[in-house]
C-alpha cells in the first residue's frame, strides 16, 4: 500500500482525493471537505494541485483515530461533477471484489 511517507513528494496529474480505511471496522472511506470521513465517494473532497493534496493528506494523517493509512488516489470527475475512481484498484475498493465476473471480456 502506498503510505503517506512514500507520498512526501506529492505530484498529482489530475483530480485526486484522499482515501483510507476506517479504524474501528476497516471499511473504505474518503476524506470530505467538512474534515471528516465518508464511505460515499461522491462526498470526497477533490484536490487539483500538489499543495491542495498535501494539505488534505496532512489533515487526514492527523486524524489517526478516525481512519488509517490515508493516501492520495486519482479520480475522474465528469462534466456533471460525478466522481469515479481513477484506477482499477480504487474501482475495486469502491465497488468490491470482481470474483463474480468473468475474466473474458
Amino acid at each position: 500500500m502506498t503510505s503517506p511517507l512514500e507520498q512526501k513528494k506529492i505530484k498529482i496529474a489530475g483530480p485526486s482525493i484522499v482515501t483510507a480505511n476506517r479504524t474501528w471496522d476497516g471499511i473504505v472511506v474518503y476524506r470530505t471537505a467538512a474534515k471528516s470521513w465518508s464511505a460515499d465517494l461522491s462526498e470526497a473532497a477533490i484536490v487539483r494541485n500538489s499543495d491542495e493534496a498535501k494539505a488534505l493528506l496532512a489533515e487526514s494523517v492527523a486524524d489517526d483515530v478516525g481512519a488509517i493509512g490515508p493516501y492520495i488516489a486519482p479520480v475522474q470527475v465528469g462534466a456533471d461533477g460525478k466522481i469515479e475512481p481513477g484506477n482499477l484498484r480504487e474501482q475495486i475498493r469502491r465497488t468490491g471484489v470482481t470474483i463474480g465476473q468473468s475474466a473474458q471480456a
Binding site: M1, N21, G26, A103
Partner: protein, 551 residues
C-alpha cells in the same frame, strides 16, 4: 491430534486479554496506528483493500472438528460467512472488524486456536506435510518435531524482531508435500546409519522478487540437536541479515551473498557454542510431545471392501476416487483430499456451512480430524475404504467433491487485487476462468498432473515461480499484464519456472494457457509423459513458439 497443556492454554488466553486491551487503547486514541501496527501484526491482523484481514494459524495443518467448527463460527459471526485457506496452513478472514477481533480471538482460544506469529518479522507458523502420520512411506510423524519447534519459537524474544519474517517447513516422506525447498529453513526428516532420527537441513529458499531454491547446509543434524542448530542459523541471520532494505532482508539474500560455504561456517561456529547447552533435547521431551499426539484406534479392515468394489462401477465415483483418494499406512484406510477448487470458485475458499458440515463428516468418517495442505485443499486423514462411497456422496452434496486434485484446475492462487493491498493485478478471476475453461474432467484427466500457480504481484504468495505453469500479474501503464512461466515445481525436485515471453493481457491469459496445454498434448511422446516431463525434454521454446506465433 495434539492436546494442549495448561501452559499452552494460559499463553493463548493471556494473549487474547493483552490484545483486547491493545485494541481498546487503539480505538480510544491512546495508541497511534504506528504504535499499534506491530501489535496487530503480531496477532495476524493486516489492513487490506476493503477491511482488516485476520490470519489464523493451523500449526502443521492439523485441525480437530471442534476447531474447524470454531473457524466456521468466526466466519459466520464476525466475517462474511467464508474463510480462505492459504499456502502456509493458515486461514484468512477478509472482512473482520477491529472492534470485534478480541471477541473472535477469545472464541478461537476456547478450542486452542490463535493467530500469534501469523504476521510480522518473527518465526511464522511451522508447516508440515498434510499427510503427516498417515503417509505410507513416512519415516516418522514430522508433527512431533514441528510441535517442538513451535513451542520453542513461540514468543521467543530472540526471534521476535528478526530482519524479516521466517518460515520453517518439515517433511518426513520422500515425496515433499510441504514445499520445504522454498522455505527459509526446510527440514527433511531422515535416519542415519544407526537408525537415529535427524534432519537434512536446507536453508535460504524463498520466492518473492528474488526467488531461490534452498540449499543443503548440513546433511544430518541429530534430532537432539535440531533446536540448537536452528538457533545457530537464526543467530547468524539476526546478526548479518539486512535491516536497511526490506527487499534484501530475507535469509535467502544473506545465504546468496555470503555463499552457502561461508554461511555454513558461520553457523557451525555459532553452533559449537550452543549445541551442548540446554537447547539439547532430551528423549523425554520428545516422548512427552509424542504422547500428546493421539492416534486413532484403527480397525482391522480388508484392503478391498465390498462397498468399494461395488462403487467402482460408478464412473463419477471412480473419477473422484482416482484423484482424491491416496494410500494410507494402515490397510483398509485411505487419505482423502477435499478439493477447494470448484469450477468457477475462488481457490481455497470454504463457507461456514461447508466447514461445519465437513466437521460432521470428519467426526463420522475420519476420527474427528481434518488436515490443511499448502495446495489450499483440505484432507480427511483416516477414512475407512468401506466409507469412501458414502463420504463421496456427502461431499458432493456440499460442493466438495470436484474430481480435480492435482489436475489443471487444482489451482493455487493468492487473493490478488480483489483483496490485497500489495497486489498489482487480480488472481482469483484468472483462476476462475481457467477452471471454467478446463471444466471438462475428461479433458483434465487426459492432460494429467499439471499445477498452475497464480500471484497478483511479485511477492509471490501464489508461488507462481514454482508452478508447472506460473502466472504473475503485474501493472503496466495502468493495466493488468500477466507474465507466464513454465517448468517450475515445488516438490523434492523443486525448480523455478522459465519466462516464456512478453506479458499478456487479463483477457488473454486463459487462451495462452490453452495454447500451452494444446502444445503439450501435441508434443508429448505418450499419454504417460507428464507436462513437466515434456518441458524437461524439450525446453520452453516449442511452447513459446506456440503462444507467440499469432500474438
Amino acid at each position: 491430534m495434539y492436546a494442549y497443556d495448561e501452559i499452552d492454554r494460559t499463553l493463548v488466553n493471556e494473549r487474547v486479554s493483552e490484545f483486547r486491551d491493545q485494541v481498546k487503547r487503539r480505538l480510544s486514541g491512546e495508541l497511534t496506528e504506528d504504535e499499534f501496527k506491530i501489535l496487530r501484526l503480531q496477532n495476524g491482523v493486516y489492513l487490506q483493500l476493503h477491511a482488516y484481514m485476520f490470519r489464523v494459524a493451523i500449526p502443521y495443518g492439523t485441525l480437530a472438528t471442534n476447531q474447524l467448527r470454531a473457524l466456521a463460527h468466526v466466519a459466520r459471526k464476525y466475517d462474511r460467512g467464508y474463510g480462505h485457506f492459504t499456502t502456509r496452513q493458515n486461514i484468512q478472514f477478509n472482512w473482520i472488524k477491529l472492534a470485534e477481533l478480541p471477541d473472535a480471538l477469545e472464541d478461537l482460544a476456547k478450542v486452542g486456536i490463535h493467530a500469534m506469529q501469523t504476521s510480522g518479522n518473527n518465526m511464522r507458523n511451522v508447516t508440515s506435510d498434510q499427510w503427516a502420520g498417515v503417509a505410507p512411506s513416512e519415516i516418522e510423524d514430522p508433527r512431533i518435531w514441528s510441535e517442538l519447534i513451535r513451542q520453542h519459537t513461540t514468543l521467543h524474544p530472540e526471534f521476535s524482531f528478526l530482519p524479516r519474517k521466517f518460515k520453517i517447513a518439515i517433511t518426513a516422506s520422500d515425496h515433499d508435500r510441504a514445499a520445504i525447498k522454498i522455505h527459509d529453513i526446510g527440514l527433511r526428516l531422515i535416519k542415519n546409519e544407526k537408525g537415529e532420527t535427524g534432519f537434512e537441513v536446507l536453508v535460504g529458499g524463498g520466492l518473492g522478487r528474488t526467488p531461490f531454491i534452498a540449499k543443503t547446509i548440513k546433511h544430518f543434524v541429530h534430532g537432539r540437536d535440531i533446536l540448537s542448530y536452528i538457533e545457530a542459523i537464526l543467530r547468524v541471520y539476526n546478526q548479518y541479515g539486512r535491516r536497511d532494505n526490506i527487499y534484501k532482508a530475507r535469509i535467502k539474500i544473506l545465504v546468496h551473498e555470503l555463499g552457502i560455504e561461508k554461511f555454513s561456517r558461520e553457523v557451525e561456529d555459532e553452533w559449537q557454542h550452543i549445541r551442548n547447552s540446554s537447547l539439547q533435547i532430551d528423549d523425554e521431551v520428545i516422548e512427552d510431545i509424542r504422547s500428546r499426539f493421539t492416534y486413532p484406534a484403527y480397525e482391522k479392515l480388508p484392503h478391498m471392501p465390498d462397498e468399494l468394489r461395488q462403487a467402482a462401477a460408478d464412473p463419477d465415483f471412480e473419477a473422484w476416487r482416482k484423484n482424491s483418494v491416496a494410500p494410507h499406512k494402515v490397510q483398509g484406510y485411505s487419505i482423502v483430499t477435499i478439493s477447494l477448487k470448484p469450477t468457477g470458485g475462488p481457490p481455497g475458499d470454504a463457507t461456514a456451512e461447508q466447514m461445519d458440515a465437513l466437521a460432521d463428516l470428519a467426526d463420522k468418517y475420519s476420527f474427528g480430524e481434518i488436515r490443511v495442505g499448502h495446495e489450499q485443499n483440505l484432507a480427511l486423514p483416516h477414512v475407512a475404504k468401506r466409507d469412501l462411497p458414502a463420504l463421496w456422496k456427502a461431499l458432493d452434496k456440499l460442493g466438495l467433491a470436484t474430481p480435480n486434485v492435482n489436475l489443471i484446475t487444482d489451482i493455487i492462487a493468492c487473493p490478488g487485487l480483489d483483496y490485497c493491498s500489495l497486489a498489482n493485478a487480480r488472481s482469483i478471476p484468472i483462476a476462475q476462468e481457467l477452471t471454467r475453461r478446463f471444466a471438462n474432467h475428461e479433458l483434465a484427466n487426459l492432460i494429467g498432473r499439471l499445477h498452475i500457480n497464480i500471484s497478483g504481484c511479485i511477492n509471490a504468495c501464489g508461488h507462481h515461480h514454482v508452478g508447472h505453469i506460473g502466472i504473475l500479474g503485474v501493472e503496466k501503464n495502468g493495466e493488468e499484464v500477466y507474465q507466464i512461466t513454465i517448468g517450475g515445481r515445488a516438490d523434492e525436485n523443486a525448480a523455478l519456472g522459465t519466462l516464456i515471453g512478453p506479458g499478456v493481457k487479463f483477457d488473454e491469459v486463459a487462451d495462452v494457457v490453452e495454447d500451452i496445454v494444446e502444445a503439450y498434448l501435441a508434443l508429448r511422446e505418450r499419454p504417460e509423459e507428464l507436462f513437466m516431463d515434456t518441458v524437461k525434454r524439450l525446453g520452453v521454446e516449442p511452447f513459446k513458439e506456440r503462444v507467440y506465433a499469432t500474438r
